[in-house]
Symmetry: C2
Subunit: 413 residues, 2 copies
């Protein structure tokens, strides 16, 4: 008789976005005519760059003329080299710590179908006993994947939480070495989901130094790096000196290049991240060769085209457009006496309503009264209670409408 | 300090096809002019059906006009319904056990990027203590993924092996209930990789009955179902009565539709597979929602097009072509006094050379003397020792050339 993996029983009740989807469906059944504004999930609303779709189409036609079979399980060299040469090298040369920044080589880059898969599956590299540390609030995938691996109890109480609070500007410091257990696997996301706020170079350096001291590994989720324009904010953790000894970086084409429906991402595991005498890079190579036959060839060709001048320009324009919406939402909410914080570095606005409410109360109020979907802050962790996240990936017209409705909501409240 | 997942230390030295690739590279460095014939890995050499590429291109253009964001993590309904209506329903209506065959519904179908990923990751559903049973020889992914999960010791000795031998026609019976421990998770592949030989309805029924009796779960890898033409051989395990209570089926577009480079597959988990009081279908839904954002939209549209009359016809033509090569290779080897067995049901020929050699000796001989790549039987398990697998997915011209060279090899030997 086979039993189930009992770690499933430790999982939270339902995945946050599933619960939102259920509430949305129920609302639409009751109000089929409602003009619902979805500022919930961070899904892109602009098209992928034309040059990427053209490359996809070319690759498709090429497959008809001359069949392409299995690709490498860790991705094609052409895409790995584009990421190294066109993304990391320019970043390093313009980086704040010019002499120490690390530019990965192509054998350190792994192509995947999403930063979600990578951040969820990378835990497979580590011992089951490892202590995990996450920010609170946090993208639920980091904790749920570790719960499935047996590292968390049913309430997830035994993770180390680095609280993102108004007091620390939502960029927490590493755990105190004296008072807290050692964090073995540290998940950081910058710009941060859900707050939209990024780690400064100095704030991130504290985490790298902590990981160096404690031989921890940082899984750095850089899915929102395309939106960073402030030169004092690192886009890559490898801009911080010695990060290549402790950090795995997950990058993505989803948000910057509107690839959410196309599915392509990468992670970097430097050869110099050695634990238990083994190279994590080599272990991940083994893991990928057992569990994957790589990413679709036309999709990798589409991703490669993002590194052409036309592709880069399109990403920049898309990012500007989303960030303009974020800025408008941020100012608009401020004017309506919502509590907003520092300027976001990603298209999310993290805020509190003028009337104190729990996150799900606020979610329900927004849905019922303003027909707006947002994401309850408490769904991202205890410290998110009372907050809500608006996604500025929505269409500009939806942002405008939402602000009008929110101004009326406030008058009613 | 973080340690690695020590299960990596249990893994076999290197993944079979990686080792072959290394030997191939070394050979080509020594003999850059050699006309190497690759009858090794089962990679398709025909193009995907034109109708699929046309759908891919249409989907790409559609994404430019009206952005498609995240898809469902378990796949789009349009593809799930095509699989249910166009694949399973006709199968059931023409099945051997007409009254009992099971046609899955769309909520039982999960779209993925490959049967490799599915067969490797499905073990996450089960308790770590589960005993696994595999055929020997076997596709290495089943055992390697379980070794990574901590279910196998370094020599993989503690799996239950169902030996595929000449005596049992390479279709073994389930373990003896009296003499062997209970097999909790059973991996079956039919037509079988590497032997190319399929389970008959009766042979498969014995396994389903065993699983029913012992509350085991069968993971049935049907990646080669497109090549089955003999009506006495089931394409799907759900043609066997009550299989929907014990079996997960992994299907794939890779081999039949030459999708190896496009990446799309599915698995079926019937709602009626309940273990420890939980529906495995619901658990896999949770697993997918945590670890994946689904398969690329244009790829799912390409897969959907395979169910049009044009797509079905193309798959049939491709399958005929590969099977004609397999038949030619099978007869040719027989004429050259190689030991071949019953007619294969997939484009693989499993055989022994006229001169007794170990599998790797035979591999090296074929590479050095005939410039042919084949796959050593022992790489698939102990019972594969002495055998070699030729893949008939190679181009027909390569099959012809290989037979000429093999006839000369034999004369020399």
């Amino acid at each position: 008789m086979v039993d189930i993996n009992e770690n499933f029983l430790s999982l939270g009740k339902s995945y946050l976005f599933q619960r939102i989807a259920e509430k949305k469906t129920a609302f639409l059944q009751k109000h089929p005519e409602a003009d619902l504004l979805d500022l919930g999930i961070g899904d892109t609303t602009l098209a992928p760059p034309k040059v990427a779709i053209e490359a996809l189409i070319r690759a498709g036609n090429q497959m008809l003329d001359s069949p392409i079979g299995y690709g490498p399980s860790t991705g094609y060299l052409f895409l790995k080299e584009a990421i190294c040469n066109e993304y990391y090298k320019p970043l390093v040369s313009s980086s704040l710590s010019k002499t120490t920044s690390y530019a990965p080589s192509s054998d350190e880059v792994f192509i995947s179908d999403g930063a979600k898969s990578d951040t969820a599956l990378l835990e497979n590299l580590f011992a089951k006993e490892s202590k995990i540390c996450v920010c609170d609030p946090v993208y639920p995938v980091y904790v749920d994947s570790n719960a499935l691996a047996g590292r968390l109890d049913p309430g997830y109480e035994n993770a180390i939480y680095a609280q993102c609070t108004e007091e620390n500007g939502f960029t927490p410091k590493p755990p105190s070495s004296a008072k807290e257990p050692v964090a073995d696997i540290i998940y950081l996301c910058s710009p941060h989901n859900p707050t939209g706020i990024a780690f400064s170079y100095e704030a991130l350096k504290k985490w790298v130094d902590y990981a160096l001291e404690h031989k921890s590994v940082i899984i750095f989720d850089a899915a929102y790096s395309a939106f960073v324009t402030d030169p004092s904010i690192p886009k890559s953790i490898y801009e911080v000196e010695n990060a290549e000894k402790v950090a795995i970086e997950c990058g993505s084409f989803s948000k910057g290049a509107s690839f959410t429906g196309l599915r392509c991402a990468w992670c970097v595991i430097p050869q110099s991240v050695i634990r238990s005498g083994k190279s994590l890079n080599a272990l991940w190579n083994q893991y990928k060769s057992i569990t994957s036959n790589g990413v679709s060839y036309p999709i990798q060709k589409a991703a490669e085209a993002l590194f052409t001048p036309e592709g880069k320009c399109a990403i920049e324009e898309n990012a500007k457009s989303y960030m303009a919406s974020a800025q408008k939402l941020h100012s608009g909410l401020k004017n309506l006496n919502w509590k907003v914080f520092e300027k976001p570095s990603a298209p999310y606005v993290w805020c509190k309503s003028p009337v104190p409410l729990s996150s799900w109360e606020l979610f329900d109020l927004l849905l019922e009264k303003a027909h707006i979907i947002a994401t309850p802050g408490s769904g991202f962790g205890k410290s998110g209670e009372g907050y809500i996240r608006f996604s500025a990936f929505a269409k500009p017209s939806a942002i405008d409408k939402a602000l009008v409705r929110l101004s009326q909501l406030y008058q009613e409240a």
